[in-house]
């Protein structure tokens, strides 16, 4: 499904990641790795935010570099520490993402209601706590009809109730739309909530499949 071809990401002369030729099948993946192993870098390059050499494509057909728009319609991303323009309200940010990602009308309602974001939605994000901001960034990552959702440290700052809801979102989205997830986290994902999740270890500047 997701194909890496001659992928290399460097910071100056330092080679951070190299993946020669690899296809990752559809599924839910937990990306593990020590600090500085390149988890955020991997997700940001997959999201089309950071430059890299080589290419990443979906089914070897939709290339990040050659079909930039089509690729970005199918790949969504949530940052580890989301930063948004402080003057925008949660609702306005949802509108920006919904318009950009071509989301069906009212798609956000389910996510907003289940995460109990409704009372805060008309407030500027400058008033949000870090947990609220995280919840909002996760809602934004589900907007549109993504085939792949990349989540960088989604578990941090979420309380237990929010974590349970979040796991339900992933399971639902994967079951209903076969959406793949790449989730970087230092914490283990709940095996009961996501029993099919596989593990990828980032080590020695490349990917290693554990299970």
């Amino acid at each position: 499904m997701l194909h890496f071809a001659k992928f290399r990401k460097s910071y100056g002369s330092y080679l951070a990641l190299a993946i020669e030729d690899l296809t990752i099948l559809s599924g839910i993946y937990w990306i593990k790795g020590v600090n500085g192993s390149g988890k955020s870098t991997l997700l940001k390059t997959m999201a089309g935010i950071l430059y890299f050499d080589g290419d990443i494509s979906i089914n070897k057909q939709i290339s990040l570099k050659n079909q930039a728009i089509a690729y970005r319609q199918l790949v969504n991303f949530a940052e580890a520490e989301p930063i948004f323009p402080e003057f925008l309200t949660g609702k306005e940010l949802v509108q920006v993402f919904a318009a950009a990602k071509n989301a069906p009308t009212g798609q956000e309602d389910y996510y907003i209601e289940s995460m109990h974001l409704q009372p805060y939605l008309n407030q500027p994000v400058s008033t949000y706590s870090s947990g609220m901001l995280k919840k909002l960034s996760l809602v934004l990552a589900f907007m549109g009809k993504p085939r792949i959702i990349l989540l960088d440290e989604p578990l941090i700052t979420l309380d237990q109730a929010a974590l349970n809801i979040f796991y339900k979102w992933i399971a639902r989205e994967h079951q209903q739309n076969k959406t793949s997830f790449f989730i970087s986290s230092h914490q283990a994902l709940e095996p009961e909530a996501l029993p099919t999740a596989k593990e990828i270890l980032l080590q020695a500047q490349t990917l290693h499949f554990i299970s």
Partner: protein
């Protein structure tokens, strides 16, 4: 021996201040230096070298003898000081500087005062140097009262600044009140291209105001300077070029806004031509006052051409940042170089050619670099 707090604060605030304002301060310094040392007074053949030195020092002498000149200089120094407050306040709002609130405030306020006093003294170094220079001149020419007032005024500025910083740091923070315009616009739909305009009203009101003042001064000053040939299209071209160059900081801030607050936007499936069209809309809005002036001052056709020249130059300055990244020094060097080059090309009658050249280069730079975001380290 500097305390660890002083060292840290100097590194963050004083050095940071000079990093951001280096270009402007250097330009001012060069102007003053040239004025004092190299300006030729009229009919200099009739005057002795000593008299020439006196003429050249007349501004300093006026400063220490004439209360009106001194008042004007004092107001300028006050503006400089307020500008430094604005810089420090802006830095204190950044996430990286939040540790200062829960570390330095545990110290006795006297210690905090000493550190901030030092920081402000370094920020005011250009003013202090000028003050000391006037003091030396005052002593040479037997004027003592005014130089003492000058030194006391500088001391006052430094002390008040340090106290202001301490007050900001030690008071319990309230939630920031939203800008009035943002409250009005709360119900408006905010299209992607317009977000920077709202950011201007939320965070950059002063920068916007100063840019427009600078732009107005450029228009009035250049029209006055070229009053005998003001209908010459080349003069209009130079004015528009200067006006766009005055917007450099706003253009830089736009890019900074995109990189810092809108980091997610490269993941949004927007075509590059749409993003470029967004920039055109944005500049049309930002340059609205100048466009009105163009329409009032020139006939429709030249006014449109001049506006297109301004727009293409703004687009070029904006696209440059996608190539250079958020490197202010490099960026200002490029803008300065292009300003001089365009000035020459306009003088040689290449104004309309520049419209196409700028648009073409802007498009190429943007198209090639938009997805090539490659910072030295992952932010």
């Amino acid at each position: 021996m500097l305390s660890p707090l002083s060292r840290t604060l100097i590194k963050i605030f004083a050095k940071g201040f000079y990093r951001v304002h280096a270009g402007l301060l250097l330009a001012l310094f060069i102007i003053i230096f040239i004025y004092f040392l190299f300006i030729n007074v009229l009919e200099q053949t009739r005057i002795t070298p000593e008299e020439r030195l006196m003429y050249n020092l007349s501004l300093v002498l006026a400063f220490i003898t004439n209360p009106v000149v001194m008042a004007v200089v004092f107001i300028l120094w006050l503006i400089y000081t307020v500008k430094s407050w604005q810089y420090v306040a802006g830095q204190l709002r950044l996430a990286d500087q939040q540790f200062i609130f829960y570390s330095s405030t545990a110290m006795p306020q006297v210690h905090q005062f000493k550190s901030w006093f030092l920081v402000q003294a370094i920020i005011l170094l250009p003013i202090i140097s000028y003050g000391l220079f006037s003091l030396a001149i005052g002593i040479m020419f037997d004027y003592f009262v005014m130089p003492v007032i000058i030194l006391l005024y500088i001391l006052l500025l430094t002390v008040v600044s340090a106290l202001v910083y301490i007050k900001w740091l030690n008071k319990l923070r309230e939630t920031e009140n939203q800008s009035y315009l943002l409250k009005i616009a709360a119900r408006w739909r905010k299209p992607f291209f317009s977000l920077f305009i709202y950011h201007v009203f939320a965070k950059l009101k002063l920068a916007y105001g100063l840019t427009k003042i600078l732009s107005g001064i450029a228009i009035a000053g250049l029209l006055h300077f070229f009053s005998d040939v003001k209908q010459d299209i080349r003069v209009a071209g130079i004015i528009v070029l200067t006006v766009i160059t005055a917007h450099t900081i706003l253009i830089y801030q736009e890019h900074r806004f995109k990189e810092i607050y809108m980091g997610f936007s490269r993941n949004l499936p927007y075509r590059r031509r749409k993003l470029l069209a967004d920039y055109i809309f944005l500049f049309i809005l930002l340059l609205l006052p100048e466009s009105i002036w163009l329409l009032v001052h020139y006939k429709v056709l030249p006014a449109t051409g001049l506006f297109l020249f301004g727009l293409s130059t703004a687009l070029l300055f904006c696209s440059l940042l996608y190539w250079l990244g958020l490197n202010m020094r490099k960026y200002l060097r490029w803008v300065g170089g292009l300003f001089l080059l365009f000035l020459l090309l306009i003088m040689f009658g290449c104004l309309w050619f520049l419209v196409f050249l700028n648009l073409g280069v802007a498009f190429l730079l943007f198209y090639r670099n938009y997805y090539a975001y490659n910072p030295a380290v992952d932010t």
